[in-house]
Each structure stands twice: as structure tokens, then as C-alpha cells.
Symmetry: C2
Amino acid sequence: MKEIKTAEILCVGTELLLGDIVNTNAAYLSRKLAELGISVYHQTVVGDNPERLKKALADSANRCDLIITSGGLGPTYDDLTKETIASFFGRNLVRNEKILSHLEAYFAEMGRTMTENNKKQADIPEGAIIFRNDYGTAPGVCIEDEESGVTAVMLPGPPRELEPMFGEQVMPYLEKRSDSILVSRNINIFGMGESAVENILRSLMENSVNPTVAPYCKEGEVRLRITAKASDRNTAYAMCSEAVEKIMETEVGKAVYGIDSDSIEGELVAKLIAKGKTIATAESCTGGLIAKRITDVSGSSAVFLGGCVTYANSAKESLIGVKHETLAAHGAVSEQVAIEMARGVRQALGTDIAIATTGIAGPGGGTPQKPVGTVWVGISGEKGDRAVLLRLSSRRERSYIRTLAASNALYLALDEI
Amino acid sequence: MKEIKTAEILCVGTELLLGDIVNTNAAYLSRKLAELGISVYHQTVVGDNPERLKKALADSANRCDLIITSGGLGPTYDDLTKETIASFFGRNLVRNEKILSHLEAYFAEMGRTMTENNKKQADIPEGAIIFRNDYGTAPGVCIEDEESGVTAVMLPGPPRELEPMFGEQVMPYLEKRSDSILVSRNINIFGMGESAVENILRSLMENSVNPTVAPYCKEGEVRLRITAKASDRNTAYAMCSEAVEKIMETEVGKAVYGIDSDSIEGELVAKLIAKGKTIATAESCTGGLIAKRITDVSGSSAVFLGGCVTYANSAKESLIGVKHETLAAHGAVSEQVAIEMARGVRQALGTDIAIATTGIAGPGGGTPQKPVGTVWVGISGEKGDRAVLLRLSSRRERSYIRTLAASNALYLALDEI
């Protein structure tokens, strides 16, 4: 089979056409194919309808080297992807005894009875490659059609089945079909906007061929993805690392919170564990979001002792000892209260560091002096206590302001330790 | 122009093909079109490439009455949707002075300079209908092509611009193009699985034509959507309400937490406000998620005084007075500790009601006696203190277990007041 240069994604499912679910599979597969250096020019969604699927298949087969489908591999009567594609490529379906016994074992383990229609999941097109399903029943299937030169990979619809199957089995298969390998590294940036990053790195980004450097932004964060192509993994990784070092030496380096990192909170928990330090939180406007994000990280219990969500002023006083006079003199959204909140929760829980937020998330509650988006982040630690003022845009919605306030607080804590 | 029966969604953007963003627009538009009774048989994504867009347009125009595009209306050189579609339907672009002055005002308000390329956003195909953009610069455009009978609606890519534009302007336009109107009502169910709901309502659902009854499920919740078609809104609404009443009289009614409700937490905050009651939270395994969800609701400050995230045992003792002996005797994940947590935070903050969670979210920390997914929810209120044991599946991931534990706690609180 020839090398794969272009691919199309063909998702099958009436629930997608009704808008009942968002098509995360198309995004996931596109991202992974981009990592492999395979170009995607079309994504298509059709329902569980063999005629329209066949027509979409014919269009795709004329345009690309690889077709990846998701959905329609299940046991019910309207799951027809495998049957339709096998027929399109002129292959018969043959019952695979190994898969059948795997299915029987799966049902036995779950304590469920296997009905007759479940057996069709063990029917495989002649000569196809099989990808096992570790998280469900329907295996993935790959047909390499010598005549047209087209490869068709069929994957199950549920993301929790599709993603591990693709990552663990289809990626290695596609890498083998290529004579070069792609490796990506990510630089995670916080507190510097996309355009500022681009201004500093413009020439580097515009001239980047191998490795390529591309920016992505999401809720106040910028991620630079560096991707190198080489004949082996070590060479590609070294090429990426060289570019990473070059970028770290620029002004952008100062705003980098992690390399190949998942999130600010993930980086924070790792750093706290490495340094043997503990943290606590006191939240007003973020309402528990900071604690939630820290405890999203598995293993955070080693460093996060706890926190308070002191939404009402009375809670600020009773739980973490913010002084009534401070609240009366400066208001809840103030530098002084932010500091007292951080200090108070740090003392109450006896942690090395504490962060606090108090602000106006909106939509109500803004004043000319303290408009929606005004947030004070307090920090208390071995270096002393201080607070930082954030002026987040009052044009943005409540959830955005809360997310950005939480990210800033987490970033400040990361910077402090 | 003829009545619109079928539509296709055509999203334009290289960022979609690279998997950098998930295509929420396709899901949103499909859902809204389903509500209007318009069938969608294809969703397509192409990049910012006029040739491929033109080809996709031609395919769609042959198959449906309405094409809705998203993306490619911006000011940059690769934003070519409007130009390509206008040329496809043989229309010239004409600069619209009203939109131009709207753009100038927008830039002045933002304190930014309007560059020459921004002006092309004011270029409109001859004879087109214009949808104003309240949240950005590019207006939406609609071409009614008499010759082919096809209507093309072009919308901006960012969801925060597209969704209000569609909801407030395109929906009414499409309703006018139809001689009947659709109205939907939603029944929100918690604590009863989809198959249990279907078993009870099978005959009602299978025989539903007008109104239709369809179930949707997401993270432990089931939503029943009832949709009626009639010549006017009042009649359609009355038809829905009659079906709602019928369903409420079945066993399903007992698990309904709201009708036309956004979320359990939204319902909880509304009920607390209505009854003049206050609430507090004490969270271990949910780590702030319950407080975060309550404070997601705008206006929650009237009823939510605050909460504690007592992740470590020491925090359970120092912040909300859980007894050392209780922890030693029963362990943190126990009925007794859940009750003491709820009681403790209720006393500390002086609220009418308090809820608490303590459990094992995984992936680590499970034992044969208390496997991952074991969660105690404590509740303290005017009716006394108690705790409920949840056994969530240990096969599910941390985030799912935390979400379900939080939903259960919120539901119990809603039930209590």
C-alpha cells in the first residue's frame, strides 16, 4: 500500500445530526492525524443510513488515501457502518471466533446475557486488520483496498472506546505506514496574550518548517506546539527540544508555566509534591472552582489540605477570621480582605501557602469603582502576604471571569513556591 | 420561496480540520433545526479554501432547501465564505454604509483602530437579508436564491456570536418561512436511568407523533424533550403541557427534579430563594465541585453562605469540628463523618441546611470494603441529620464519580427543602 498523505473523517450517527451530542471524535481524530503529518481536508457526518453513507464513502475514496469512520459498529439493527463499507470494497463478512469468545467473556464478566444481535460485532470483513476494544464490545476494523489504494479504518463511536483504540493501536499502525515519524512538544504559557507571543516569535514561527511552531489559545492560556518530523523518535524529539530551548530564551520564556504540561493546577500539584509543601484555598468569587481544579488532579490529597468557600461576609469572618472592621472599611472586594482571607485559611489549616480570591464575577454586583471583572487574588506564604489586582473584561461572561480568576490564582501560587 | 424541509450544515475553518477546536456550532445548529422540524442529513467541514467550499456548496444545494454555514466571515484574507457563496449564487458584493458605520462605532468603543481589511465585513451580497451581530463585528447574511429554491444563511464562527444571532434573528426568520410552529418543553429527571424511564414510558414514546417524546441522557441525568407542532405558539405549548402532565402522573414523575430547568443546582438555588432558606457545603471527595456548581448560578449569593473543602482529616477537624475519635473509629469515608461534616458546617455558618460529601473518587485509594466510587452524602437540616450511601461504578473515571457525587448531593438538598 502507498504512503498515506491525506485523510478524511466520516462520522456516522443520527444523534450527531440531531445535535444531541457534540462531535468530539472529529476533533480528536483530526488532531491526531495532524500530529502524524496527515492532511485532513474534509470532515463529514451522515446518519445511520446506508445509502447516504455509501455516497459519502465514494466521495471520500475519490479524494484521499485514508478514510476513518466512527460509529455504527454496535449490535443494533441501525448499526450498519461495517456492512456498508465491506460491501463498498467488495469484501464478505466472516464471523471471527476469537472475537466471539472475547465478547462472550465480556458479557459474562458484566453479568449480562449476550443476545444474538451482539454476535454480529464478531463479523469481520475478509482480510481486514482488527483493533481490539479494551473499553467496550465492538472491535475496530481496517480494510486496505489494493485496487483503489484507499485504506478505511472503522472505529466505535463512544470516545472512551475510540480514543484509547486510536492512541494505542491505530497510531502505531499509521506510523508504520509512514517512513517518517512526528513528535510534538508543547510550551504552556499563561499571562501573555496570543498576539504578544506572536509578536515576539513572529520570524521563528513564520520560518518554521521542521520543526513547525504553532500557537493555540484557550481561556487566557497560550500553548505553542512544536512538531518535528524525522526518521526516528529520538531525532524528532531532539529537534523539538532544540526549538523549545530557543523559545525559552526569548521574552516568552518568562510566561511559561510548564512544558508538556496538562494544566496550571497539574503543574502546581507536581511542584508542591516535589518541594514537600502544602496549600490551602479561600474563595469568594471563584466559589470553589480553585479547590475543584486542584482536586481534579489525581494525587492532590498529598498537598492540598483543604479550603473555604467564603461567599457571604459572615462566612469570611466565622471560618477564616477576616476582621469585621476590614470588611466594613474596605468592602469584601479589596486588597486587605484578599490578604486576610489567604492568611486566615493558611493559619486555620497550617499550610505552607494559601491563595484567596474575592471579586465580582457578574452579571450583577458591579459598580463604577469596582466593575464586573474586578478580582483581588491574595497570597500568603513563607515570603509574606500580598494581593494582586486583576481587571478582567466586564464584557465577558460570569464563567469566563471565574475561570480566569482561578487560573491567575493558581499561576500566582505556582510562581510563589 | 418554498417551505424549508431539509437543511445541511457547512462549517468552514482550518482550525476545525486541525482538531484545534471542537465543532459545537454543528451540534447547536442541528439541535435548533430539529426543534424547528427541519431535517438535517449531512454536516460537512471544509477549510478556508474557496475551491473545496464551492464544491461542498454545490453538493449541498443539490440535496437540501437550506444551507447554513459558520465561519469565514471575518476580516482576514483567508475569510472567504461570503465571497465564495455570493459568487456561487451569482450575486455581487455591495458595501453597506449602515453596517460600515456600525463597525466604526464598534471599533471606537473598543478603543481600537479600524484597518482597511475590516471594511470588507460591510460588503453584502445584493438583495441579501442581514442579521446584525451584537457580540462581534461580522454580520450574518442570508441569500434566498429563487432559481434553485435554495436559501443560504451565513453565520460567524465564534459560538458566542453565532448562538445569539441564530436564536434571536434566524429562528424567527425560519419560523416565518414555515406555516407551523414548534415548541419544546423539557422534563429533567435524576436518579432514574434511561432504560428505566423508557420501560415506563415505552408505549407513550413509541406512539408519540405530535407531540414527540424523546429521551436524552448525560452524566446520570435523563432529559425528556416533548416537542409539539401547531399553527401557533399557544396551541403548541398547550399540547406539550398536556403530555408533561401525563408523564408526571407515571412513576417517572417521582424522579423529576424540574421542568424546563437548566440544572439541579439552578433548581436548588431557585427553590432556596423562594423559601427564604440558606445553604452551606462541606466537601471532601468532590473537592469544591458542589460549591462551584451552586455559585455557577447567578444570584446564588442570596442563599449560599459558603462551604468548606475539607480534603485532609485535619481540615475536617479544624474547620468544621469533625471529632478526632469519629475519624479514628469509622474512617473518613463513613456515615458518621458525613453527618458530622454536614452538621459542622451548618453550625459554623448558621445556615438552614448543609450538605457534605466524603468518598473515594479514585483512581487510587480504594479497598475491598470501600472500593473506588464509595461516597457518603451527609445532610443536615431542620428535619434532622442523616447520610446516604452512594455506590458509583468503580469502572468509571475520577471526574465522572465526582460529578455524580455532586449531583446526588445537590438532588438530596433539593429534595430536603
